[in-house]
Amino acid sequence: MGKTLLDIKNLHAEIEDEGKAILKGLNLKVNAGEVHAIMGPNGAGKSTLASVVAGKDGYEVTEGAIEMEGKDLLDLDPDERAKEGLFLAFQYPVEIPGVSNINFLRTSLNEIKEYRKEEPISAKDFMALVREKSALVELDAKLASRSVNEGFSGGEKKRNEIFQMAMLEPKVAILDETDSGLDIDALRIVAAGVNKLKNENNAVILITHYQRLLDYIVPDFVHVLADGKIVKTGDKSLALELEEKGYDWLTDVKTL
């Protein structure tokens, strides 16, 4: 078993100002080399979990801890969490008009390098890296010079997320419904990209509604998130079981 990369302990979080609790004591330990899938019904708190871990404004953590390699993430700004090696592939990637994908990524990469006290990447090395990594997700080279996500199709946006992940080489990547809105070919490409990127030193967390994605990226663990907690954990077969039975059999127990 690899070392623990991400450790979420008894996490309670609510929507700021509304005081509405979304996460209610969530525990999750992710070790190097592992792939975790988080599934669950709508409104269970899956996307909130991704947002809270990444440090998005608008949520308040009322209890618990999130640690990355022993470091408390809750003390860090979102950009510092990213620099520590956390990556979030967005469910809805954001458009930034007038900023080229290339410029964006180079700024990003160099910010991360500076944080780690490494030399900035040269233009030549950077372009070589762009060519190598964009091939990984079969991203059209033209998209690299276009404005970030602007005018991209849904599939291109998702591929661009994985391309960015490939460029930044995070320790922990959370893929928030990366499979939604993808046709079967795009799904295969994205999954192949992720599979090539995972290794014994990093970890991937897949947030998804459908077991379809898990045919392509095989998880070590499948967790069911319901009502702000992980209510069941199993291996890949759990996903198949969920596909068949839905979530009711898990959540009903609770509500009874």
Binding site: A54, G55, K56, D57, D77, P78, D79, R81, A82, K83, F87, L88, F90, P93, V94, E95, I96, P97, G98, V99, F104, L105, T107, S108, L109, E111, I112, Y115, S147, Q164, L168
Partner: protein, 480 residues
């Protein structure tokens, strides 16, 4: 006489040091506050001006006396007391020594990447630097004079090229044009004069920044640029360094004349002191800028406005000649309690005239940012075309963005397009950037630079890089 020799330049520099050495003497020569015929005569006499220019000033004073301060702009401020302003004071050293310079100002200049030598020059403390730059400036001037290009202070031009100044002064912005133009015409202190002879393409950017004997930009600046037939010039005004000035009121007039087949590109970066976080202090910047386009000529205004407490400025083009082209590219940033009312007028008189207006407003803090534009198509302006794009970006929910686009069209063959957007800087965009490792400040800088890219692309490369940094600094801690 067509330009400088090295000897003359050295003489001039000597004079300058002399001035600095006897600052107190010069100060005692300051004309008492107030505006009257006597004051105007004194200003003209001190500058040893010819009779016709004195008459020009006196006429302007009479016109100004009859006028009232305009109130149509979307700005609120306490009107200056015109009898409590001194209209002539000799150039003065801003700081006695480098140690006296405001540390905050030094820090800002560091962030802008301005070298120490330049910083000293900008704050007026460096004699060394002036000496160092003699050779650079000399070769610069030699090169220009070889081509017959005249580039000097306005006062020098009055002495050395009175016929040119007289021929063009006030032909684009007439004295009676507006309250501040009239005031400027009566009391203008100094400024720049530039003449490009027929068929000459000026090989370098002309920048006020390089003009060696510049004695501070002055309160009532007057600039006149004449591009003779078939010539080309790119002119840069201002710089990104923060400019402080004890004079609160600035009323400049800039006139551009592009004769047949000529092209003038005029770029401005304005960063006058905007006042503090609570809106105290800051410069009132009431500027009249206008260009006259003759047949087949082109005038292009590009401006990055980040400074001043109140800005009132509409760089415009009169497209008099057939097939002439006018362009206006603007970024106006307001933060804290700044107010800007800026835009352009494109007056289409000739046939097949074309104009393009791209305005990008950014409002932060509690500031108010207005675009005001007029597209006027005269009866005889067949096949005139205009494209206007007017975007506003809001950084907070306490600031304001306003647009006042006017269109007057008297010819049915005209094609006019107007596009406008208003958006608030997206928290989602900032978070997305942060998740990729950019700090909030870097993220805002990147998003804003993307937003203004179309305009910055029009600036000369070096200027554009500085302007980018300036925007980031102007908007520090501004999202809310």
């Amino acid at each position: 006489m067509s330009g400088y020799t090295e000897e003359e330049l050295k003489e001039e520099l000597k004079d300058q040091e002399y001035k600095f050495g006897f600052t107190t003497d010069i100060e005692s020569e300051k004309i008492p506050a107030g505006l009257s015929e006597e004051v105007v005569r004194m200003i003209s006499a001190k500058k040893n001006e010819p009779e016709w220019l004195l008459e020009y000033r006196l006429n302007a004073l009479r016109v100004w006396m009859e006028m009232t301060e305009p109130e149509w702009a979307h700005v609120k401020y306490e009107k200056p007391d015109f009898q409590n302003i001194s209209y002539f004071s000799a150039p003065k050293k801003q700081y006695e020594s480098w140690e006296d310079v405001d540390p905050e100002m030094k820090a800002t200049m560091d962030k802008l990447g301005i070298s120490l030598d330049e910083q000293k020059k900008l704050t007026g403390v460096a004699v060394d630097f002036v000496m160092d730059s003699v050779s650079v400036a000399t070769s610069f001037k030699e090169k220009l004079s070889e081509l017959g290009i005249i580039f000097s202070s306005f006062s020098e031009a009055v002495q050395n090229h009175p016929e040119l100044v007289r021929k063009y002064l006030g032909t684009v912005v007439p004295t009676q044009d507006n309250f501040y133009a009239a005031l400027n015409s009566a009391v203008f202190s100094d400024g720049s004069f530039c003449y490009i002879p027929k068929g000459v393409k000026c090989p370098m950017e002309l920048s006020t920044y390089f003009r060696i004997n510049e004695s501070g930009t002055g309160q009532f600046e007057r600039t006149l640029v004449v591009a003779d037939e078939g010539s080309y010039v790119s002119y840069l005004e201002g710089c990104t360094a923060p400019m402080r000035d004890e004079n609160q009121l600035h009323a400049a007039v800039v006139e551009l004349i592009a004769l047949d087949n000529a092209e003038i590109k005029y770029s401005t970066v304005q960063n006058w002191f905007p006042g503090d976080k609570d809106g105290k202090g800051g410069i009132f910047n009431f500027v009249t800028k206008r260009g006259m386009c003759h047949t087949n000529s082109k005038i292009s205004w590009t401006q990055v406005e980040t400074g001043s407490a109140v800005t009132w400025k509409y760089p415009s083009c009169i497209l008099k000649g057939d097939n002439s082209i006018g362009e206006f590219y603007s970024v106006a940033v307001t933060n804290n309690y700044q107010q800007a009312d800026t835009g352009t007028k494109m007056i289409h008189l000739g046939k097949n005239t074309k104009s393009t207006v791209i305005s990008k407003g950014i409002s932060a803090g509690q500031s108010q940012n207005s675009y005001r534009g007029l597209i006027q198509i005269a009866k005889k302006a067949e096949n005139a075309r205009n494209f206007t794009q007017c975007d506003s970006l809001l950084m907070t929910d306490r600031c304001g963005a306003h647009t006042f686009p006017y269109i007057e069209c008297a010819n049915n063959s005209a094609k006019l397009e107007h596009e406008a957007t208003t958006s608030k800087i997206g928290e989602d965009q900032i978070f997305y950037c942060q998740q990729r490792g950019l700090s909030e400040e870097k993220a805002i800088g990147l998003i804003v630079n993307g937003y203004v890219k179309e305009v910055l692309n029009k600036l000369p490369m070096e200027f554009a890089v500085e302007a980018q940094k300036l925007l980031a600094i102007s908007l520090e801690n501004s999202v809310g």
